[in-house]
Symmetry: C2
Subunit: 284 residues, 2 copies
């Protein structure tokens, strides 16, 4: 919310001191100043920083912005093109950069309902895979089956998720929805691609609400996603009464009662802490 302009300075540039003289006649008991940033008048009650600190902060901001530009340019330089999609390749107008592929990945269990009788291989480079994932590196460095055959089978994954996974390894980017974020998090955990796991976790945390907190908690628990787990647990504890009446809750009790016990333990521990905080004497 902007304060109302009391007057405009004749010069658009920063004008220190001038206000003081002008305003002294108007309001001798309270000095009014013009903010060097928003150019609006303010009283000493609303004062922020001194001029020196403002100038330092402005310089810092400029430096940070320059650093961001440099880093963005570096990301653009370092990212690879996304490997072409063999399924859509013929329809693509844009010419893709050649991949010089020396390995293919195959979704060995296509759960997407895709009716392709033979799984479509996703082309890639051994160098890229080994650089991004220590699991691929071990697989390709040693004379394992995958290295000799040039085919890496990825189980329990849809073709679309596999393609998104490979694209991420090349570009550091993925187009996520909640399902895709879960699929990629599982792949990221399995192939130890930390950067992707963090990326998916951040996305899932941004989509958390009390209604999806239980399934997210169970998912995070299963895949050791600590930040998602903590965020979901916080939401669960804030909504225990509502959640314990829901179908997901009953399902979780049936399927994984130990997990539900952990939730109650965390809930109890929080209540005790809150009580101690409210009444420090009780602690003694």
């Amino acid at each position: 919310m902007r304060r109302h302009h009391r007057r405009r300075s004749s010069t658009p540039s920063v004008d220190f001191g001038e206000d003081e003289e002008d305003d002294e006649e108007e309001t001798s008991s309270e000095a009014r100043m013009k903010c060097v940033s928003c150019k609006e008048d303010y009283s000493s009650r609303d004062a922020g920083t001194c001029r020196e600190c403002y100038e330092e902060a402005s310089e810092t901001e400029e430096e940070l912005k320059r650093e961001i530009e440099d880093l963005k340019a570096k990301v653009n330089f370092l990212r690879f093109w996304a490997p072409p999609d063999p399924l859509h390749h013929l329809h693509q107008q844009q010419r893709t950069v050649p991949l010089f592929s020396d390995v293919v990945l195959v979704a060995s269990h296509d759960e997407s309902g895709n009716s392709t009788p033979h799984p479509v291989p996703v082309p890639a480079n051994r160098a890229v895979l080994a650089s991004r994932s220590p699991v691929f590196r071990a697989m390709l460095e040693n004379e394992m089956e995958e290295s000799l055959s040039g085919t890496i089978k990825i189980s329990d994954v849809s073709y679309d998720a596999l393609r998104a996974f490979v694209t991420y390894l090349y570009t550091g980017d993925a187009c996520l929805d909640e399902l895709m974020a879960c699929d990629l998090l599982v792949l990221a955990e399995k192939y130890q691609v930390k950067h992707l796991k963090t990326y998916c976790e951040k996305f899932l945390i941004s989509k958390l609400n009390w209604e999806n907190s239980l399934p997210n908690y169970a998912f995070a628990y299963q895949h050791s996603a600590k930040k998602l787990l903590d965020a979901a647990l916080t939401l669960i504890m804030e909504n225990m009464d509502k959640l314990s009446k829901r179908e997901e809750y009953k399902e979780l009790v049936d399927k994984d009662p130990r997990l539900v016990v952990e939730i109650y333990e965390a809930y109890l521990s929080k209540q005790v802490n809150t009580a101690v905080h409210k009444d420090p004497v009780a602690k003694a």
Copy 2:
């Protein structure tokens, strides 16, 4: 330069308004405030921003810092390991990641005085080279000699510069001195690696002074390094009297008089502009 503390607040947190009341008794004619950033007192004459703008700026700074952290993590994810140095490979303690190399680069003219009778090939990946340089891409995509033989000859370059060049294509980083920056800028121009050219140009600009401005100007001119050219020209024009007595100047007149003419033309144009600026009537 920090101002002297007039008094310390009892609370370390931001305290608005309080100053006003306390100080009004001391200096009724001039309100004194405590800067929320450096915590020092200041008078309205030294006022910077209002509180609202200060808070906005602090939030912006935090956001920019988070963005920088994210970008740095992405750069780390996207950068490749540097290819191993065959010359020093045996001495290296650290285990390098396998390169899965499918092409080698060879410095066909080693100007460093290196006495190696046969040039040492630098291993690389076609996919990486093609992704970083449109020249390599065209070379490797089409069935050219380099693509068929798997050997790319790079002329007029030392082994060290070639290795630094390939390392940059993998990592986006180089360890520069002025000679190396020039060597890499030449390679970057030849193979159209814009990011590296900018990187070298920035480094050379940071090392510019009036004494090296002439050779830098000639170098920038030869390799179309516009920003370095402009920076060097500015320095040259500021030091024309000193520079015109130097040996480099005489050499440049002998070697490339056209370049010297361009310097004088820029100098003249600057003088005319300055004159017009000083005496606007002369323009009419």
